[in-house]
Homo-oligomer: 137 residues x 2
């Protein structure tokens, strides 16, 4: 289980990108609309480590990022850990008494399958478990 990316909620991808690109010196990827989540994301890969993923609201006032910003303001939203087998990992967490925020995994950015542990169970951290899409043969 290794850290894949740090998800950060921002008011504006364009404005926040300036900090991560110009000041932190990271090269940003393309902006991607994640339809199922109603968000736009832009990844800044960090050489030899997890990426920074900026997340902007795309679904309007009731959306997940809009609600986060209204409650907490911009900042770190989740930590995403990559696992080999998401279904097996979820089963293991549930057997230990941990809850996920949805019954089934969902479609994340880049074609990944993702699920979130309940932040109360992780002491205030929203932990995403992510399984990368299988490479096409």
């Amino acid at each position: 289980m290794r850290l894949n990316h740090v998800g950060i909620a921002v008011e504006s991808l364009a404005v926040a990108s300036r900090f991560w690109a110009e000041a932190m010196g990271l090269a940003g990827g393309e902006t991607e609309l994640v339809e199922g989540e109603g968000i736009r994301v832009r990844k800044f890969p960090v050489p030899g480590g997890p990426a920074i993923e900026l997340m902007e609201e795309a679904a309007g006032e009731g959306g997940v990022i809009a609600k986060f910003l209204a409650k907490r303001g911009p900042g770190v939203h989740h930590l995403s850990f990559e696992v080999d087998d998401l279904d097996r990992t979820i089963a293991r967490f549930r057997a230990l008494g941990y809850r996920t925020t949805s019954e089934q995994p969902r479609a994340g950015a880049g074609g990944a399958r993702v699920t979130f542990l309940h932040p109360k169970d992780a002491h205030g951290v929203l932990v995403e478990l992510l399984e990368r899409p299988r490479e096409s043969p």
Copy 2:
């Protein structure tokens, strides 16, 4: 510039350690008192990536973690990026108009020198810049 660790503010190192050790499967290091900051920290190295650093209040009600917990509750506190030359990096950020939260770098965990960028300038993220201690000859 690469991610060295993710700092997480917790109510109790002992309780939160159970999640990161038993559920996430990480091996925790020794608990360290960082006197200058008034905090106790415990690092959980993640193979091939940045560590998870749990931080607990050690200085009492007015301490930095106590204030963070009172305001935001437990959760991600900062992202720590490792740099080769902290003084040069600070000079570069200041030249770009970014503010640090203290005039001079401070002593962090493990003998590192650290400074923080002002979270407003980083769109809600508390970014730590960290220079590892030089190896003894």
